[in-house]
């Protein structure tokens, strides 16, 4: 349950860009409301599995940190999950969570901290009380904080053993240099070690107030009954006005001024290349076209990038692109695994290909006459794929709950149902436009992880 990936802040990055699951809510029984203390709530019935998924999101992430507090949110997230409240010790919470058969986890990301619990349907009340208590009745102690710091140091070392996670973290740090997103979500050891209870408590008291949080519950319940329970449990939390700490971090991600290329040596047998570009933010109208462009260029069974890299020269064995839209800036990431001797050529080819993406034909509409019938519909395929991905995500109660909680806190739009409508409206010209705006830049970050000079020490 709590594998190294499951608690990874980086995993959160892979989870957190998707409004897509929100399609179709109109056919399910759902109810949004706001408590008097300001907590925004969304309930959604889903009866195929007798489970209830509760996700509480706090509008607090790396975006709210400065260099001196880098990693504080991640530390706080760990502490909240495992170290106890005014009523129960950390071990008591753990014991009760198990007794109720619960899955219990949390994630910190660039924008949000998510606290989630999944329980059998009959334990809904326990899940609500548990989440309310850990979020709003935390008991911080110096000893507990120091203990959790030790666990985080282990996590930091683990990250440096994973080629792609490490390279992704470095890409963020350099692509968002000068912005809070450039601070590693998981923190830096020297900063974490210097954090005192007072500083952490100050953050906690400012941010963990109902009006800065959202709660999404998805699962096998009666919406009327659950609403009463939510109002009874979370209505107890006092209304506290939210006030941002000083200094307020920079909001909009600044443009990158030059290309950054890094090489990291690890004890690996293959090479791992990550290339990052700045991309549209969570509320940017370009996000739909960029989602589609990512699908066309770097995903699926035969992405366009594979034509460039996997031809006769076979410069890469695996290719994958992803796009993560955060509140104050987005990021496009291209992942390649390859032979170490091909890193330079593969990087050059990939950058050249991405630069040319602004001139590509993506749809039969780009052709005239007979040629239309021969042309391949990349755009149509990508739209279908995004529809498929959205439908699949809808099958997961936890994925739906995460998306809903996230939407409340990050989206400027009232309706969560516009994502697929906007995807359908995108044209091939829009793809070329976003390719030109975001992938044709000469500013990028490329991080390659290669074997140590003198050869890898491990077997294999």
């Amino acid at each position: 349950m709590l594998s190294r990936l499951a608690l990874s802040p980086l995993l959160f990055l892979f989870l957190n860009h998707s409004c897509a699951p929100l399609l179709g809510l109109e056919v399910a029984k759902s109810r949004p409301f706001t408590l008097e203390n300001g907590l925004r709530v969304f309930l959604l019935e889903k009866h195929d599995i007798p489970l209830i998924n509760v996700v509480a999101a706090v509008n607090l992430g790396a975006k709210d940190e400065v260099a001196e507090t880098s990693g504080l949110v991640h530390l706080l997230e760990h502490y909240i999950l495992f170290r106890g409240t005014d009523q129960r010790s950390g071990s008591e919470i753990s014991r009760q969570v198990r007794q109720h058969g619960a899955y219990f986890n949390a994630h910190t990301g660039p924008d949000l901290a998510l606290f989630e619990i999944v329980v059998p349907a009959e334990h809904a009340f326990f899940a609500l009380r548990n989440q309310k208590e850990i979020l709003f009745e935390l008991k911080l102690t110096e000893a507990g904080l120091e203990e959790e710091k030790e666990v985080i140091y282990e996590e930091l070392r683990e990250l440096e053993d994973d080629p792609f996670r490490y390279a992704t973290s470095l890409t963020y740090q350099h692509l968002f240099a000068g912005h809070p997103y450039g601070n590693p979500v998981e923190g830096r050891k020297e900063v974490i070690s210097s954090l005192k209870v007072g500083t952490v408590e100050d953050f906690y008291k400012r941010f963990f107030v109902p009006s800065n949080c959202a709660l999404a519950v998805v699962g096998d319940f009666d919406i009327g009954v659950l609403e009463k329970e939510v109002r009874s449990v979370f209505g107890e939390v006092a209304a506290t006005p939210f006030s941002a700490p000083e200094p307020t971090p920079v909001k909009v991600a600044p443009p990158l001024r030059k290309a950054v290329e890094l090489e990291v040596e690890l004890d690996v047998n293959k090479a791992y290349l990550v290339i990052g570009f700045l991309a549209p933010d969570y509320n940017h109208p370009d996000q739909y076209a960029f989602d589609l462009l990512t699908e066309v260029l770097g995903r699926g069974i035969s992405p366009m990038l594979s034509f460039a890299l996997r031809g006769r020269r076979r410069l890469a064995e695996t290719i994958y692109m992803s796009y993560h839209a955060h509140k104050y800036g987005g990021i496009s990431l291209t992942y390649l695994t390859l032979n170490p001797q091909d890193v330079v050529a593969a990087k050059r080819e990939t950058l050249s290909f991405l630069r040319k993406a602004r001139n590509e034909n993506y749809s039969p509409d780009d052709f005239i006459g007979e040629a239309q019938f021969q042309a391949f519909d990349f755009l149509g395929g990508a739209k279908n794929k995004i529809r498929y991905t959205a439908y699949r995500a809808m099958e997961s109660g936890l994925s739906l709950a995460r998306s809903l909680a996230q939407h409340f806190l990050l989206s400027y739009s009232e309706s969560p149902l516009v994502y697929l409508e906007n995807i359908e409206k995108v044209t091939a010209s829009d793809l070329r436009k976003v390719a030109a705006s975001y992938l044709s830049r000469s500013e990028y970050v490329a991080v390659s992880v290669v074997p140590k000079k003198g050869g890898a020490k491990s077997r294999g």
Partner: protein, 432 residues
């Protein structure tokens, strides 16, 4: 275009002969049917989304690979879906259909996922390829290169290194004891005719099972599947593989790797699969290492030895392994080895308490539901149960089986299975 697919579906002129329906539970309501050539289809109607997940499970897997031909199962299965030309690949891309391939101890898999509106067109392309794949030298070499690459990628991950070392120690050079990608030497040994022979033996109606979840009505869906796979030759099922668990003579294994963290793992052999034993293994894995409150958790929360503590259970037909592990800093490695042994020793002697037992049951059942919420997850589990000899309806029985376990039998099983005298210690990390 979409409308025309639908109208074709509606024809459903190829309805298969229907065996007695075996509903398995309101929660997992799958049923078994078969095509005209005898190929078994496990079908679940699920209209939670307009998508279809279809899985071909091919008996054999790693355990059926002849000596010295490690990787043959994956190679053959992957080649069986190698798309012959780019126009077909593009058509699949347009349909948003995708497929993936893997090979396990007892079977290999082809997973196909698509929007239901594109199912027939998808199967028309893929089934034709699967029915008559081309094993040319260029294609075989290309997939071999990919496999050699993936094998190296696996060897860059300490957890995979440890897992493969445990499999090799408990199952040796026959059966389950290696990566599904083989290695460079074994791949070089595989000839094109080996691939063709393996394909001929494996891809027969009696050796393949299809599990499928779709919003499509059964009759229509079976018609589409019949059209796609009804012509696979009947053939014979693969004979059971001569695989047996053996306890390694060497009790510790140190694998050098210049990493920041050390992987410290205690691995135990698990006996041949059997319904009650499968449930007990899952329960014990959960009790030991799944989440806060598990038995290994204090190694993280109190001893602060690791971020990642876990227990992984790998169950195959003729045996399996349980790995209890943590990843720790080099300075804490010895302490981690000592503490891990100490926890397992204490648990082995004292067993579970009633409270721990009940909590582990609850957690195991919730995890099972969570792990089978999506169509693809559910079909993968149903299919694996069928392949492992437990039967697809084990899916519905599993929660009841967990409930029926008694503390006495679990503790007795615990003592017999998690015997530290027969455990294998694996450490992956810097030599010094």
């Amino acid at each position: 275009m979409r409308t025309s697919f639908r109208s074709v579906f509606l024809l459903a002129w190829l309805s298969a002969r229907i065996l007695p329906i075996t509903p398995i539970s309101p929660l997992f309501s799958a049923e078994k049917d078969s095509l005209s050539n005898g190929l078994v289809v496990i079908y679940e109607h699920n209209d939670s989304s307009p998508t279809t997940f279809l899985q071909l499970l091919i008996r054999g897997g790693k355990s059926a690979e002849p000596e010295g031909k490690k990787g043959l199962s994956f190679l053959t299965t992957r080649l069986a879906v190698e798309i012959p030309d780019s126009s077909k690949a593009q058509e699949l891309l347009r349909l948003a259909s995708s497929f993936s391939v893997s090979s396990r101890g007892d079977y290999s898999l082809i997973n196909i996922e698509c929007l239901t509106e594109g199912l027939e067109a998808t199967l028309r392309i893929l089934a034709r390829v699967i029915a008559s794949p081309l094993f040319s030298g260029m294609r075989v070499d290309s997939i071999k290169k990919y496999m050699a690459h993936q094998a190296k990628v696996e060897s860059d991950d300490s957890l995979v290194i440890g897992h493969l070392a445990a499999l090799a120690s408990y199952f040796g050079e026959v059966g389950y004891g290696w990566s599904s990608y083989g290695d460079e030497k074994s791949l070089a040994e595989i000839r094109n005719r080996d691939v063709a022979d393996f394909y001929r033996k494996s891809f027969t109606a009696s050796n393949v099972v299809i599990s499928v979840s779709s919003d499509q009505k059964k009759e229509t869906l079976m018609g589409v599947i019949e059209k796609a796979f009804g012509s696979l030759p009947s053939g014979k099922p693969m004979p059971p593989a001569p695989v047996a668990l053996r306890y390694p003579e060497k009790k510790d294994l140190y694998i050098p790797k210049e990493t920041k963290q050390h992987l410290v793992c205690l691995a135990f052999g698990l006996a041949e699969i059997e319904p009650r034993r499968y449930a007990m293994n899952e329960l014990i894995g959960n009790f030991l290492g799944k989440g806060s409150g598990s038995k290994l958790w204090p190694l993280r929360s109190e001893a602060k030895l690791a971020y990642n503590v876990n227990c992984r259970v790998t169950q195959m037909q003729k045996g399996g392994i349980l790995e209890a592990y943590l990843e720790t800093d080099g300075t804490k490695k010895d302490q981690a080895i000592y503490s891990l042994r100490e926890v397992l020793n204490r648990v082995n002697k004292e067993g579970m308490s009633m409270e721990e037992f009940e909590a582990s049951k609850a957690a195991t059942k919730t995890n099972f539901l969570r792990d089978n919420e999506l169509k693809d997850q559910r079909m993968a589990t149903l299919g694996s149960f069928e392949m492992l000899g437990l039967g697809f309806d084990y899916m519905a029985k599993f929660p009841c089986l967990v409930d029926s376990l008694t503390l006495e039998e679990v503790n007795a099983y615990f003592r017999a299975t998690l015997d530290l005298e027969r455990a294998l210690l694996i450490v992956v990390g810097p030599a010094n």
